[in-house]
Symmetry: C2
Subunit: 388 residues, 2 copies
């Protein structure tokens, strides 16, 4: 037995000891976003993720979730298995590492986030009923290609129309323009966010007014914002730099809104138009609605900054036109505040409320800068919209 | 140097020699279905696929495409690169192997086929313009959840509505029910097949009548057909067994068609209703339209069997009601015929044509049992529909 083999044996023994010492509750079930017929990955009642992959020739396989890599253990058939620490409720991106290669887990469905199509997993949440697929009337999610003059290229958006839209050809609806975060795209709010199911369930309970939701791509619009969502990629200087949202602002105002108003049965009036977004999409919402408060009446920012008194002073039309400023964060973002360029969001929101603006501040319990915070944000925001 | 190391060195040298001897044309470009910003995989003018992945600790990495595994070669940075033999034009499923683990390529977008979400690649085809994204009027692809009484569960279908559908609230349209193959699902015809773009382009050129396309799931309907699309999984006995298509037939006739006619502006009449499918979906089309010829007027089967005189004798209404039987195959399927339970498709089609049926037989040049054959099949079939 040479040194390498001895080290390997020590590693295996040590891993096995760690494995045995972790008190894992053995009630694992397949994740709800597994591929059809796939048993792994699994999740237990503690929120641990158990991954498994066959890799007979590999020497190291890891589960990489929430920025921690967990070693998997190989059995006699070359199948590697192991689990993570308990995860927060809701949706998480993750990946596997096989001998140094970062790859999607072949067991999971794939989602666009963290600037890649890759694996995602659901930790069942105590409040998951609000975005569950139920036997209630369902709206449509429409994929529509369109030509953008601003970008001189074909683009794609997703459009949610509420239940009844197809059956009531005379009825017109308000519109929410709803944006994804950095490293995500126009698929995020329906695939990971379940915006359509959140609305279908709210509508079935009579808790919201029906409206159309337009989900477009906030990254691929010229000029493009600097890449975010990945550490170390932001350019030097203040962030976001001046003009970073101009590409999407021009695309939204000059291409997307006129195209939607021309092709769908909208109430094409600012009092029936809202904009919201998560993270980068919230920051875009802030910049765009401050620059053009005459276009919108409702503003939502989920984990994406806030509106300050200084903003109101620079955008005199904002206070008159905007009927609601909704700000939300995950509790783990607020407990452990990230340095932001616009001050404390709760404090900012209280100050503009005292100045006479209608505001709503919401904190998602025990969630971080992740989709469960944003699902809950939309679920709180939607019932407040278009209450004219 | 022990025996294992010697063998490894020989393998590396041998791989290098093979690599050097292959006259690869160095005009590789990123595949058109790569993830945003990803350089690899690439395709060259010969149709070779070049894959690349960083796997510094791996000892063997392979590209697995069209049932052949190609060894990749590691560089000093731990990055593995290598290419396949030339592939047929069109779309192919593929995967990577990293030290015995079969994984999706992190560079490609993912598609559902071969009973998994996994990598796909496009080999540019000489006729790719017919399914290209162009600046022409575009229809919508609608994702709709609905409750199925037959299955006592929520299901999902995709619905293509042609350009103008949203803008002309009085107009009603014929409907084509279009089915995927074994190991695929309701996403296949739009994601891999580009059925929507094929129709948008035909309509822009005035080569087809506008109609709605409904794409549902032919596998997950109770009772389920036996799994196909994977070797060695078919049950013993004649295939397909009696009754194998009943689950989807009941779901289609009792849930899907009534739901579509109630919610979309269809011409709810057999003369404006077509059914077609590829492979397993073609076989389902055959069984369902023979059992219920009073429901449809146009029948298409792409690489999925044919209609024989014996079929006509057993289904007396078929000949009277069905205005067109369209049969197509990829040339490589016809050149190298697979044993099928229903005889030679070309011969069958000629015989029923002589008996008085309107038929069309099409062979896709130099393609196999793959999506390029089915894209071309739909492109030939669609202009023949609803010419009343």
């Amino acid at each position: 037995m040479n040194l390498k083999h001895k080290l390997l044996l020590v590693t295996i023994l040590f891993s096995s000891i760690c494995f045995a010492q972790t008190k894992v509750v053995e009630d694992f079930k397949p994740s709800s976003v597994n591929q059809p017929g796939k048993e792994y990955p699994m999740v237990n009642s503690e929120g641990r993720v158990r991954a498994q992959i066959s890799a007979p020739e590999a020497t190291r396989v890891q589960l990489d979730i929430s920025a921690v890599k967990y070693d998997l253990v190989k059995d006699e058939n070359g199948v590697w298995t192991g689990e993570s620490a308990p995860q927060d409720e809701g949706f998480h991106y993750y990946q596997l590492w096989v001998d140094g290669a970062a790859v999607p887990d072949p067991g999971s469905k794939y989602f666009y986030g963290a600037s890649r199509w890759g694996s995602g997993i659901e930790i069942p949440a105590h409040d998951q009923e609000f975005y569950a697929m139920k036997n209630v009337p369902h709206g449509q999610v429409i994929e529509l290609p369109y030509f953008s003059k601003m970008n001189n290229s074909m683009r794609r958006c997703f459009i949610y129309t509420p239940p009844g839209y197809a059956q009531n050809p005379e009825k017109r609806y308000p519109v929410l323009y709803l944006q994804h975060g950095g490293g995500e795209d126009e698929t995020g709010w329906s695939n990971q966010g379940h915006a359509n199911l959140i609305m279908d369930n709210l509508l079935a309970e009579g808790k919201a007014n029906p409206f159309i939701i337009v989900m477009d791509n906030g990254t691929w619009a010229m000029p493009r914002p600097p890449r975010s969502g990945q550490q170390g990629e932001r350019p030097a200087g203040p962030w976001p730099p001046e003009g970073w949202a101009d590409g999407f602002m021009n695309t939204l105002l000059q291409d997307i809104i006129p195209m939607i108003d021309a092709n769908y049965r909208t109430l094409a009036d600012p009092q029936y138009r809202a904009m919201a977004g998560l993270s980068m999409g919230g920051m875009q919402t802030r910049v765009i609605t401050l620059a053009h408060p005459e276009v919108f009446s409702y503003v939502g920012m989920f984990s994406g900054g806030s509106i300050s008194m200084e903003d109101l002073e620079k955008s005199p039309g904002f206070k008159d036109n905007i009927k609601l400023v909704f700000i939300s964060y995950g509790s783990r973002e607020i407990e452990n505040p990230r340095p932001g360029p616009w001050g404390d969001p709760k404090e900012n929101t209280e100050v503009i409320q005292k100045s006479g603006m209608n505001t709503h501040f919401y904190v998602s319990p025990e969630t971080a800068h992740e989709w469960q915070s944003w699902r809950r944000g939309l679920h709180e925001f939607a019932p407040l919209l278009f209450k004219n």
